[in-house]
């Protein structure tokens, strides 16, 4: 039973990762379409490495950027992530040094960009960027609010993606989470027994409750 459970959960988690990736991809596609932009991308913060990672890209750079990493202190995306403040810049090319910095994180030098932090509960999960809106349309603060609404949706998708990955790590890894997953599996096995002759399951559950309180 526990092996079946493990396999079922693992399969479920793998399925979830794929559908969350699709959700993130659809967010950047729609953001790009609504703002009639050349490209849109989502960066996820890898807290352990303190790096930002391209998770989804629509438009320019879509083929080669997913998975690319750069330090979380780099350029505008890093600043937006740390300060939790959205930012819109209209003429990136006016500053060559800045243009180069941006190019490192986008694969090309955009003329303009909108960047908004992806915030979920108290965590800053990453950044959503929209690059090169058409120059003939007037940008308004209402669009900034719209970008914020999109960011909220993307943050929920990113949170789900991270949860799915953590669940998978819990099942497969060697860390603390894996230990907890093994404990859960053993409890599950004991729970399947007809009876708990030696009382060890009850004792283990009591111990876990005490541990929970301690933490």
């Amino acid at each position: 039973m526990s092996e079946d459970l493990r396999a079922a959960v693992a399969a479920g988690v793998l399925g979830a990762e794929e559908s969350h990736r699709e959700l993130l991809q659809s967010v950047v596609e729609v953001a790009r379409a609504i703002f009639r932009a050349k490209a849109s991308s989502i960066f996820l913060l890898d807290e352990a490495a303190d790096e930002l990672v391209f998770e989804a890209v629509a438009g320019e750079g879509a083929g080669e950027l997913v998975g690319k990493r750069f330090p979380s202190s780099t350029g505008i995306a890093g600043w937006v992530l740390v300060t939790r403040q959205p930012l819109v810049i209209d003429d990136v090319t006016a500053d060559r040094r800045f243009g180069r910095d941006v190019a490192e994180s986008t694969g090309y030098v955009p003329k303009g960009l909108m960047a908004v932090p992806l915030l979920h509960e108290e965590r800053s999960l990453g950044v959503l960027e929209v690059l090169d809106r058409p120059t003939d349309t007037r940008f308004t603060l209402k669009e900034m609010d719209l970008l914020g609404a999109f960011a909220n949706q993307a943050a929920i998708a990113l949170d789900l993606l991270q949860r799915a990955r953590r669940a998978r790590a819990a099942l497969d890894g060697d860390g603390d989470a894996a230990l907890l997953a093994r404990v859960a599996t053993k409890l599950e096995q004991r729970g399947d027994d007809e009876d708990d002759d030696d009382g060890s399951r009850a004792a283990a559950v009591q111990l876990l409750r005490a541990l929970e309180q301690l933490l």
């Binding site: 913060l45 807290e47 303190d50 330090p71 979380s72 202190s73 350029g75 505008i76 890093g78 600043w79 992530l81 740390v82 300060t83 939790r84 403040q85 959205p86 930012l87 819109v88 810049i89 209209d90 003429d91 990136v92 006016a94 500053d95 060559r96 040094r97 800045f98 908004v116 932090p117 915030l119 979920h120 509960e121 108290e122 965590r123 800053s124 940008f139 308004t140 603060l141 900034m144 609010d145 914020g148 960011a151 909220n152």
Partner: protein, 281 residues
């Protein structure tokens, strides 16, 4: 009875702190010079911000940028464990954003002092602790105004930030903080002891509005404006980050002319001179 109460050698002119005995009433009588109507002319007419110390808590400031000029002091804040390290900062600005904020303050208050406290640039990890340590240090320096175009969403820092914000309020350091237009809890802009700022779309840098539906208390220019950036250059930007230094600059102008104002009096002056209340727009 406590030891303090038994000691009669209190300086006779000391102001009462915890209660007001009848014979102390005269001692707290304050000279008031409030006009019949608080106007912008009364509030900051003729002021250049001279003598007011404005702290830019951000990514550093590029000294000598044509829009910024002299930076009176620049430090970088780092945290290792429980220890805060504050060192002279020779890196300038790691992003461009602090320079943008400093340039806006300078454009409004040309003769104020600009002090840079760098709390950004070392990556995401530990950024909340550095923000907290930097703000604490800035308040300890007794700056008149602290511009904070940043916030944290970490709940564990909220109560400490709240305490710091109240501390600043009673020590007469004005904290001006960028508001958030996203559906998350973030700090310190939501605290009533700070001045929180969002953006409007108008071009005049002295046009600002009081918001009758807080927590965002004021709206200032934060839309499509040319701001100072790295290498002596400029960028055209939009964001609450740039509205905030507009209010910080106006606060510097007011404090240069009326240094006696406490934070709550100053907020009242901002209210009375707001473009939708009594001020010219």
């Amino acid at each position: 009875m406590t030891a303090e109460e038994e000691t009669p050698e209190e300086p006779p002119e000391e102001l009462p702190a915890w209660s007001l005995p009848a014979d102390a009433v005269e001692r707290i009588r304050l000279e008031t010079a409030w006009p019949e109507r608080v106007t912008r002319e009364w509030a900051w007419g003729g002021s250049t911000g001279a003598g007011v110390r404005v702290c830019i808590l951000d990514s550093g400031v590029e000294a000598g940028h044509p829009d910024v000029g002299v930076v009176d002091n620049a430090v970088a804040v780092t945290v290792s464990g429980d220890e805060t390290n504050v060192t002279d900062d020779h890196e300038g600005d790691l992003c461009g954003h602090g320079t943008a904020c400093a340039g806006i303050v300078r454009s409004l208050a040309p003769q104020c002092e600009i002090h840079s406290v760098r709390v950004l640039g070392a990556g995401y990890s530990g950024s909340g602790a550095v923000l907290l340590a930097g703000l604490r240090w800035a308040i300890d320096q007794g700056y008149d105004v602290v511009n904070m175009s940043l916030s944290t969403t970490k709940q564990k820092f909220a109560s400490m930030l709240h305490e710091l914000a109240d501390n600043a309020y009673f020590r007469r350091t004005i904290l001006v903080a960028s508001a958030h237009n996203m559906p998350v809890e973030s700090y310190p802009w939501k605290f009533s002891s700070v001045i929180s700022v969002g953006s409007h779309e108008l071009e005049d840098p002295l046009t600002f509005f009081y918001n009758p539906s807080p927590p965002v208390e004021f709206f200032a220019r934060g839309y499509e404006l040319a701001v100072a950036w790295l290498g002596g250059g400029r960028l055209r930007c939009t964001g609450n980050s740039f509205a905030t230094p507009h209010i910080a600059g106006i606060v510097a102008l007011i404090l240069a002319k009326h240094p006696e104002l406490t934070p709550f009096q100053l907020k009242s002056v901002l209210h009375l001179t707001a473009s939708n209340v009594g001020g010219e727009s």
